[in-house]
Amino acid sequence: MPAPATFSSSGAAFFGGVKSALASVFFPVIAGTYVGIGALAHDFSFPSWWLALSTVLVWAAPAQVILISALGTGSALIEAAVAVSLSGIRLLPMVVALLPLVRRKGTRLRQLLLPVHFTAVSMWVESLRLLPAVAPERRISFCNGLSTTYMATATASGFVGFYLAAGLPPLLAGALLFLTPMSFLISTARNARMLVDRVALVLGLVLGPFLASFDIGLDLMWTGVVGGTAAYAFHRWREATT
């Protein structure tokens, strides 16, 4: 567990977040991932500023890969929108699990808008790991420092990938896109200290591709509801019997 952090001001907490972001595994992972996404955007001839705007507005690597591939290969717009939206379902329970950590009595709604928009796997995993050790009144600033650093890294790396694209060997481009699932897998497992989270992780790994291979639609939502609920039920049953 990281040592408790008491910050003397919101500014200090913000920079504490910046430092935590730079020291985390997500700093090189986000940089590499967005070099890969930049190359992808270049291959499908999107403007570099379009990519930067999509990073700031969408802020979810899997959704951006789907968006670029779908629009780039000329899929129907509604089809692309549905695919993006399905990949984004995870953001809802993530926000629900994150907000009680950052909100206090008297926190205004507008103070929560940035942390909510910044919610993405990297920020969520690190916030759940680090925030309990941060004083409650500094958590929003800490979160914003952490997230701003990740987003700035992603945006800058997108430009790098965009202009490197032509010289990027296909094997390396593939390896950059592999950073997302590899780092998500490891960081989720690292954060899964409670049994309920471990069971949910294993069930999701099995159910996700299983349901997807049947082409039933909304497969990720069902993976979450079925896998998450089963894990939660198992956790309640264990608590009741021990």
């Binding site: 379009w50 507005l57 939206s85 995870r90 009680p100 481009a173 592999f178 069930l203 349901l211």
Partner: protein, 113 residues
């Protein structure tokens, strides 16, 4: 700017931003008044973790972009190697990601299509 140049940006808002952001907005709405020990929050975390695991498995098994050029068994084996390295070596995320990536590149190089 002509309409044609503006179109990708309109598509970005309609097809990228809004369908994704709606879930964050709903989360904000639903999280009102919940505290971190409440059962709904524990359940939400389990659901988020399961969906995330589903996304991970799908990105490895049914990838997009340049990752499709690397054979399925190389992608799967690389993920297993990375995860094993993470467990074996001080539960370090850096080590796990580095070993997984090295395995993927090695396998991709040997079994290139």
């Amino acid at each position: 700017m002509t309409a044609l140049e503006l179109w990708p940006y309109v598509a970005l808002i309609l097809v990228g931003f809004l369908p994704n952001e709606i879930w964050r907005g709903l989360g904000l709405l639903l999280a009102r008044g919940l505290d971190e020990d409440s059962e709904v929050v524990v359940w939400s975390r389990a659901v988020a973790t399961a969906i995330l695991a589903g996304v991970i498995a799908k990105l490895i098994l049914f990838p997009n972009g340049a990752l499709t050029n690397i054979p399925l068994f190389v992608r799967t084996a690389a993920a297993v190697c990375g995860f094993a390295a993470f467990l074996a070596i001080r539960r370090s995320a850096f080590v796990g990601v580095a070993v997984g990536e090295a395995a993927l590149m090695l396998g991709g190089f040997v079994f290139a299509r």
